[in-house]
């Protein structure tokens, strides 16, 4: 079988349908013998098929089997092993397969874990996998070419980075996981067990938060390290597409915790879980349907799956809304309807509202091309929009984090706060002092920095206190400490970064931010399909000396196009990073003065040491047959220094395929190798374009001049607070992992 993978996809689809039918039967007739086993076996067979399909795709990639169109498009013989593996998910079809593969394996855990809720949970979960399988059969990674090309297209240079190799699997693990709390929630509505989905669903919701969050952060880390623009977040649709479900999912985690402890927000949580899950599909739709093709630096291609994705969304929204409407009256009201303003509950609700608002405005901005297309011309929003709208929300979230974690559920006495609040105040004061010490009293940064300092201070104190009692109790405090640190890092790196562009000549030392930078000899090194222009920089600061080697990589693609990749150099430090990005390179070789001369009839042009006069056209081949074409000559009079002038008639053959001017060039008097030829005529304006070959006074001068000096324009910047940012994001995820362990099903 030479297309095992393609066959496995069909078998997998069949197994999944059998599994779904089995679970459906199980609901209609309680517990007929063997049906449950069939349903489970069906799902296991589906997992097996998807796994075999994935392995066969991987083997095709590793074995350079370019008969598969997918392998030919994304892999190549010269790719290192690690990137050959990651080319599995470099394209759309492969990443959908990865999504299904991860979803299938998560499903095996789900069968094991869901217990009595299994039939309905698995039915809903199967439905989401069914849609992905249909997508995959429509757009299969196992499509075969009639003739296998000798080599594949290979992988985009920018993606050849270890971080980018692991980014997609982690994102898709998160995407796959969002279906699980949704499946539990649908089961809860269906079976009228409105609280029973929280305990088993919460660890999965946190798992999705951690994995998708890790994917987003790895993406940012890669962007900073590889792209060379010095940032880690650009509000590009592709970035937003992973942020939106993550924000909704983070709101969901808060809602589920509140329902778990206080039986509040039953209805809200059904909305949230649907929102988060549908956003996963919506964002897939936004980034995979080609709708945003004109609005992103990422070139999306439409694979013809738009309709399916819309259907996919519609079915799940309809299912959730219909069930919720059916059960609305039946849903029990919370035990206590009144919520004190000064309570932990209120903080939770406010956090959910703020996270949802952030999700909505970011979603509004990302969907702008879609919305405006319906009204008038499609437009996108500038990135300022995201900053402007999210800034006040972030300030409020950080303010909440500076005191809410201190409060207990129910009514709180202000005296309770007094004990630990000094930590928040201390954090805020330190943040203010540091900002002030740098003399940057910018409103925006102070608005974020002060509450971020408060949140950091308070949650640091809480985390250490709680961890002493039992480490897992500190999960929330760790996450919130991470949020505080991350925002401090964002303020420092985006508002206090300093940057300057300078031209550095080879051998000459120039200062930049206290560093003395010298460009030594640039080297061109062959690498892969292109050339790497290495720019060795000697950098000195005080006694520290080091060599930086940013480079510009130029690759010639099929069809002869050139593509440039900039590789920045980053010197990471605890307080700040030194970030050097090459902008433009100049080899220093002077361009030869233009050897083209445009001359009008009757005109005389002086080109040392000649004076050339254009007297008129000499039309020779007129009337001849079209095979030989027409020959046109330009009657010239050329004077060389003081010698007597000569008449020359360079000729241009037209209408006869390619013309080669060099064959018809005329020798100029005087110099050894000096010629003139005719390359273009313009009968309307009575002008001709001549090409002059030979040395002139100008080029003689240039030859005597000093050797060419290479130079490079470097964008040198100092980015403070990057360590805070990365440590903060790590803690945000680490706290989540601790939370999964704390709330794991027992």
């Amino acid at each position: 079988m030479n297309n095992l993978g393609g066959l496995c996809m069909w078998l997998g689809l069949l197994a999944l349908i059998i599994s779904s039918l089995g679970y459906l039967f199980l609901l209609l007739k309680p517990d007929p013998v063997g049906i449950k086993t069939t349903a489970r076996l069906g799902f296991t067979a589906f997992t097996g098929c998807v796994t075999v399909a994935s392995i066969s795709l991987m083997l095709a990639i590793l074995g350079n089997d370019f008969v598969f169109s997918y392998v030919a498009r994304y892999s190549s013989r010269d790719l290192p092993l690690i990137y050959r593996i990651s080319s599995f998910w470099a394209g759309q079809e492969g990443s959908f397969l990865l999504w299904v593969f991860l979803g299938a394996w998560l499903g095996l855990f789900l069968i094991y874990q869901s217990g009595s809720q299994e039939p309905r949970v698995m039915l809903v979960y199967n439905l989401s996998n069914l849609f992905l399988m249909i997508l995959l059969i429509k757009q299969s990674p196992f499509h075969m070419l009639a003739v296998a090309p000798a080599d594949g297209n290979g992988m985009n240079m920018l993606l050849q980075d270890p971080w980018m190799a692991i980014h997609p699997p982690i994102v898709f693990l998160g995407y796959a996981a969002y279906a699980i709390p949704f499946a539990f929630a649908i089961n809860a509505l269906w079976s009228r067990d409105y609280d029973g989905w929280i305990k088993p669903g919460l660890p999965w919701a946190i798992f999705a938060y951690v994995t998708l969050g890790a994917g987003i952060i790895i993406g940012g880390f890669w962007s900073y390290k590889v792209l060379g623009w010095g940032g880690y977040w650009g509000w590009d649709p592709v970035e937003n597409a992973s942020l939106l479900p993550w924000l909704a999912g983070t709101a969901l985690v808060h809602g589920m915790i509140l329902q778990d402890t206080k039986k509040q927000l039953r209805k809200t949580n059904f909305f949230l879980v649907t929102f988060a899950f549908v956003l996963v599909i919506y964002c897939t739709f936004l980034t995979r349907s080609g709708i945003l093709a004109d609005f992103s630096v990422h070139s999306f291609t439409d694979l013809g799956i738009t309709g399916l994705l819309v259907l996919f969304m519609g079915v799940f929204i309809a299912l959730a809304v219909w069930l919720l409407a059916m059960r609305w009256k039946d849903l029990p009201a919370p035990a206590k309807t009144e919520i004190a303003y000064f309570s932990r509950e209120f903080g939770f609700i406010a956090a959910i509202a703020l996270l949802c608002m952030s999700c909505l405005v970011t979603g509004l901005g990302t969907s702008a091309p879609l919305i405006t297309r319906m009204m008038a011309k499609a437009s996108k929003v500038s990135t300022d929009f995201y900053v402007q709208t999210n800034l006040p929300l972030a300030v409020l979230i950080l303010l909440l984090l500076s005191f809410v974690p201190l409060m207990a559920f129910g009514r709180n006495q202000p005296s309770r706060l007094i004990k630990k609040l000094p930590w928040a105040v201390a954090g805020a004061v330190i943040a203010l002092a540091v900002t002030g010490w740098h003399g940057m009293f910018d409103t925006r940064s102070l608005l974020i920095a002060i509450p971020a300092g408060g949140a950091t201070g308070l949650n640091l104190a809480l985390a250490t206190g709680l961890a002493r009692r039992h480490f897992s109790l500190a999960s929330g405090a760790l996450v919130h400490l991470g949020v505080g640190l991350m925002f401090l890092g964002i303020v420092a790196s985006s508002m206090y970064d300093r940057s300057e562009k300078q031209r550095f000549f080879q051998g000459a030392t120039k200062p930049a931010f206290g560093y003395a930078i010298t460009l030594s000899a640039p080297q061109v090194v062959g690498h892969g399909k292109g050339e790497r222009l290495e720019l060795p920089l000697d950098i000195e600061k005080g006694k520290a000396r080091f060599l930086a080697r940013p480079d510009i990589y130029v690759e010639r693609k099929k069809g002869g196009q050139l593509q440039r990749f900039i590789h920045p150099y980053i010197k990471r430090g605890i307080f700040s990073d030194l970030y050097i990005s090459p902008v433009d390179y100049d080899s220093g070789r002077k361009k030869a003065p233009s050897n083209q001369i445009v001359i009008k009839k009757g005109q005389t042009i002086h080109r040392d040491p000649y004076a050339i006069t254009f007297n008129g056209f000499d039309i020779r081949g007129m009337g001849q047959n079209t095979l030989t074409g027409i020959s046109v000559g330009a009657r010239l009079t050329v004077a060389y220094k003081t010698e007597a002038s000569v008449d020359l008639t360079p000729v241009l053959n037209m209408g006869q395929g390619q013309t080669n001017a060099a064959d018809h060039r005329e020798k100029l008097p005087g110099q050894e190798a000096a010629f003139v030829s005719l390359v273009q005529i313009n009968a309307d304006e009575k002008t001709v374009t001549l090409v002059y070959e030979g040395s002139s006074v100008n080029t003689e001068k240039a030859q005597n001049a000093e050797k060419p000096k290479a130079s490079v324009i470097l964008d040198v910047s100092i980015k403070p607070g990057m360590t805070l940012l990365w440590v903060g994001t790590f803690l945000m995820l680490f706290g989540g992992v601790v939370g999964i362990i704390r709330r794991r099903p027992r």
């Binding site: 962007s223 011309k377 196009q561």
Partner: protein, 128 residues
């Protein structure tokens, strides 16, 4: 049924927030326009076209990338971009410049360049 005070407050806050967000949304929109339209209104827009071959150069005094953009209809304008030359700039099949036209300088000041290249790859190709 008595409407709770909290609900009113919450409602007002939500309506206000949505109003503000919508306002920000409208003012942040950068519509796709032609070169002629971009030159007529000095507001943030995006213009698509191709680079006129050989017109791009790095201005040493201002450290800006300057090039001539020509749209499908043939209209041209000079674009100035304060940033690194995007990686696939030289062989872009299409360039989208996002920014404002400055009449007094007679250049389009781009804050962002979207570069479309003929690859099929649907991932990141270039940062800002």
């Amino acid at each position: 049924m008595k409407i709770k005070k909290a609900h009113i407050t919450g409602g007002v806050v939500i309506v206000l927030a949505m109003g503000l967000a919508f306002n920000a949304f409208q003012s942040a929109l950068t519509p796709y326009v032609t070169v002629a339209e971009a030159m007529a209104h000095e507001r943030a827009v995006q213009v698509a076209g191709i680079t006129v071959k050989g017109s791009d150069q790095y201005d040493l005094d201002t450290n800006k990338l300057v090039f001539t953009l020509r749209e499908d209809g043939g209209a041209k304008m000079v674009v100035e971009y304060d940033g690194a030359r995007p990686g696939n700039f030289d062989d872009a099949t299409k360039i989208v410049a996002i920014g404002c036209y400055a009449k007094e300088k007679a250049v389009f000041e781009a804050s962002e360049l979207l570069v479309k290249c003929p690859t099929k790859y649907e991932g990141r190709v270039s940062g800002e």
